[in-house]
């Protein structure tokens, strides 16, 4: 597939990633690269395997085959080590720490960038106080960045939906990632909020953080992304600039269904490029 041949270095390289659940192959031999400073979109019909692919990248699933490397080193499939290496993520179904305050949520995100253990917490030396203060300042900066500084002491679960999504992004950013994975960041948002999120993603990129995002809102993805990849039935179907992907009829077919060759028997053995019948929904609002 055509990628932008620039001198940019890849931050994320997935090689031949396959994920099987028993007989179901949710992700099939996907090769994927994200370069520094890029915003990459990942689209595909419901159940295409996008979230599963994210989980493979972040170590929540151990891929059946294949490797994921970050800045040239292969990542172990352990979520906390992946985050430590520099990949942070949000979840499709918001997974905030509901009974912690907004500030505490972000502070938890700082876990990998701080190292005060139990002893320093118990002894409360000057180092501990300095580190806590620095962490809090950094967290407040992030809350200002997403515009939630006034709600620092509210419980996360009492935030409105859109703000919860934003807070999840702030929490992910707190780990100072080089790559941010966003799983449907605008799901359930109204148009104004979606536009605000668009600006937020650009602002994140301007901080030098590469962004990989899953999204069903096509306008949002094509506006934002330098590059878009399409996943259908676990396989990467097309990858390219927004224009290229939007114009590709296989993509349209994958979303809308093939009008004429809708023979289910043939679909079983269809070739890679052939669009599959059965995925009928055009927009998913998974929550």
């Amino acid at each position: 597939m055509s990628t932008m041949t620039t001198e940019t270095t890849p931050v994320l390289e997935a090689r031949n990633v396959t994920m099987r659940f028993g007989g179901l192959t949710a992700v099939r031999s996907v090769d994927f690269t994200v370069n520094a400073g890029e915003i990459v979109g990942l689209i595909g019909p419901n159940g295409a395997g996008k979230t599963t692919f994210f989980n493979c990248l972040t170590g929540l699933y151990v891929p059946t085959e294949g490797t994921v490397s970050y800045q040239g080193t292969v990542l172990p499939p352990k979520p906390h080590l992946v985050t430590k290496a520099g990949i942070a993520r949000t979840f499709q179904n918001i997974r905030l720490f509901a009974n912690m305050t907004v500030l505490e949520n972000v502070l938890v995100g700082r876990h990998t960038r701080t190292k005060e253990g139990l002893w320093s917490a118990l002894l409360r030396g000057p180092g501990f106080k300095k580190a806590e203060k620095a962490s809090e300042e950094r967290a407040m900066e992030l809350l200002e960045f997403i515009g939630l500084e006034a709600k620092r002491d509210h419980l996360a679960r009492n935030l409105p939906y859109g703000e919860q999504r934003k807070l999840e992004i702030a929490r992910a950013l707190a780990s100072e990632p080089g790559l941010l994975l966003l799983d449907e960041p605008t799901a359930g948002m109204n148009p104004q909020e979606t536009r605000a999120t668009e600006e937020l993603v650009f602002a994140i990129r301007d901080k030098g953080i590469a962004v990989l995002l899953i999204e069903h809102d096509m306008r949002f993805v094509f506006n934002l992304s330098d590059r878009v990849a399409v996943l259908v039935q676990g396989e990467k179907l097309v990858e390219g600039t927004s224009e290229v992907v939007q114009a590709d009829e296989r993509v349209i077919a994958a979303y809308l269904g093939e009008p004429f060759e809708g023979d289910p028997g043939a679909a079983e053995t269809a070739e890679v490029d052939a669009a599959e019948a059965g995925t009928t929904s055009t927009k998913g609002e998974a929550q």
């Binding site: 906390h80 942070a88 912690m100 876990h111 919860q164 948002m189």
Partner: protein, 589 residues
């Protein structure tokens, strides 16, 4: 919002209803001075006219509460602060409390002495007097709906929008905390010192309804706000009150209860790290107390110890006990903490029992000769600090401080240490990662938290603290035997009681498990008549509590934060996860 009419459950004019509460309250006070029965066979001697005895004191206090709240509701100047919420619930609850304790007494007299004939006229007066405020309170108007349940609920509801208090001067705030501490100490001391079960039941009735009334009146909220401003002062006051307790006691027996409550509470606080903060359900926790106790028993110079020659000083024995528990905790935790939820609970339950059965068998016959099996290790010598023998009574400033009081004071220090460890650990990077794990383990690991590692730290820390408490408990009880370290029993400590203390008191708080431990220790101690039914009673009590107040007696600050700190209506953001993603106001300052 639907339009609700306000109507009273009992149809009376408002003026009459209010008057009834006030007059009833005063009459209740007066009736406490009458003779309720003719014989002093009923404990507490309720036969003297002109001077209240035993349970009559409780009726008197409850009557005073009713009267004071009734006066406040009348708008008597200077008493307005008593009901910041401006509601009727405090009246209703104090009235029920007074009614409850009086009628409980009357019925106990009739039941124990065999018939209503044993009541003097004073008893009848008290019964009627205490009924009046209840009638009056339920004749006060409240929002009326179709459902009877909601109508009843309205009478004991705490309104949401309690007007914000005028700020107090720092001095006044500290004075309030001091007075509250003194009242708290007095109430607690009274409860421990109750000499017979009836008095303790009456005490519980009055305290429960009084505290409930203060809560619905909005006074508890105000008090916790004041406490939030003066955290360290409150801690210092609490510590001072704990130290003061043995000086209020003339009988070392009550100091014994005190020290046992402290041991039990300390262990519950340790368990609170594991259960309340990290969310790990540990059903075998009492084993760590056992490990500490056995370790201390083995190295403290008991002649029946396998290592009878060894006599560590206390600090070394305490460290050894804590360390042994810690190692035991890591050994158990390392393989089991990879499990989640129910599986962890089952495995810890198993390990807890393994400990007890193992020490039961290490008697040289069915196992290595280490613990003397079921006989345990007796004759553990008393501690001696620089010539101050904790086993003997000492005179301090005119007060006689007995053996148990000595250990009580030692235990206060240890509990202070554990409270410090708990609060410091909870409010730190590691504490936040525990809570994060409890809230959502997957999200927590995705935030870079090594779940296994931080869970193991919580488990080991909890174990070490329990072990530390165990080293003192070995000295207090002279001997250690395997039987107390079981999963469930009718007396504390056992794992089920420990867990119940944490859940009942309030998970994730400091005061909660201590209060829960005090309650769970005192109930079987005082209510001897429950005996073998005490477990059943606790089961029922726990079910009721989980139904009506699942967060425990003392709610976590986090749960209180569900309502705005400021109590102001800046954004109507009651929309939560389940709510519709409505149009959202930006959080501009």
């Amino acid at each position: 919002m639907t339009d609700t009419t306000t109507r009273a459950l009992i149809p009376l004019p408002l003026a009459a209803a209010r008057a009834l509460v006030l007059v009833g309250g005063i009459a209740t006070i007066v009736s406490a001075f009458l003779a309720w029965t003719w014989t002093s066979e009923f404990p507490g001697d309720l036969t003297i006219t002109g001077y209240p005895g035993g349970l009559q004191w409780l009726t008197l206090i409850a009557g005073v509460l009713v009267t004071v709240f009734a006066l406040s509701a009348y708008g008597v100047p200077g008493l307005g602060w008593l009901i910041p919420a401006r509601n009727n619930a405090p009246l209703v609850l104090t009235a029920i409390g007074a009614f409850g304790v009086t009628w409980y007494t009357i019925i106990s007299i009739a039941a124990e002495l065999g018939g209503l004939a044993n009541l003097e006229p004073g008893g009848w007066v008290a019964a009627i007097a205490s009924l009046l405020p209840v009638i009056g309170a339920f004749a006060l108007p409240e929002p009326h709906t179709e459902s009877t349940k909601d109508n009843l609920k309205a009478y004991i509801a705490k309104p949401e929008n309690i007007p914000a208090p005028a700020p107090l001067s720092p001095w006044l705030e500290r004075a309030v905390i001091t007075v509250a501490t003194i009242i708290g100490l007095a109430v607690f001391t009274y409860g421990i010192d109750t000499e017979y079960g009836e008095l303790f039941v009456g005490f519980l009735i009055v305290v429960v309804f009084a505290v409930w009334a203060l809560h619905t009146a909005g006074l508890m909220d105000r008090f916790s706000r004041i406490v939030a401003h003066n955290r360290s002062f409150t801690l210092a006051m609490g510590f001072a009150a704990a130290i003061a307790f043995p000086f209020t006691q003339t009988d070392d027996h009550y100091a014994n209860i005190g020290v046992n409550i402290l041991i039990f509470g300390t262990v519950a606080l340790g368990l609170n790290i594991v259960v309340g903060l990290a969310g790990l359900l540990d059903l075998g926790y009492v084993a760590f107390l056992g490990v500490g106790a056995y370790t201390a028993a083995l190295v403290s110079g008991s002649e029946f110890s396998r290592f009878s020659g060894v006599h560590f000083p206390f600090w070394a024995a305490a460290l050894a006990g804590a360390a042994a528990s810690l190692i035991f905790g890591v050994l158990i935790g390392a393989p089991t903490l990879r499990l989640r939820g129910d599986y962890l609970a089952i495995v810890t339950l198993g390990f807890g029992e393994i400990f007890r059965i193992a020490v039961n068998n290490m008697d040289g016959e069915s196992g290595p000769d280490i613990t003397n099996g079921p006989n345990g290790i007796p004759s553990i010598p008393d501690l001696n600090f620089f010539g101050f023998n904790l086993g003997e009574a000492h005179d301090i400033a005119g007060f006689t401080i007995g053996r148990f009081a000595n250990y009580y004071l030692l235990m206060v220090l240890i509990m202070a240490l554990v409270v410090l460890v708990y609060t410091r650990a909870a409010d730190s990077r590691i504490g936040r990662s525990w809570i994060a794990i409890r809230e959502d383990e997957t999200a927590a690991t995705a935030m870079g938290i090594n779940g296994f590692r931080v869970k193991l730290i919580a488990f080991a820390l909890g174990a070490a603290l329990a072990g530390l408490a165990g080293t003192v408990s070995a000295h207090v009880t002279y001997s250690v035997v395997p039987t107390p370290y079981q999963f469930a029993g009718s007396t504390p400590p056992n794992s089920a009681f420990l867990l119940a203390a944490v859940v009942l008191g309030g998970m994730g708080t400091v005061a909660g498990p201590i209060l829960g431990a005090a309650l769970l220790y005192l109930l079987p101690e005082k209510l001897v008549f429950l005996q073998d039914k005490s477990l059943l009673a606790f089961g029922i009590a726990l079910i009721l509590l989980m139904r009506f107040r699942p967060e425990g007696i003392i709610a976590n600050r986090r749960r209180q934060l569900e309502f705005h700190e400021t109590g102001q209506l800046d954004v109507p953001d009651t929309t939560t996860l389940s709510g519709e993603p409505a149009a959202v106001t930006k959080a501009g300052a």
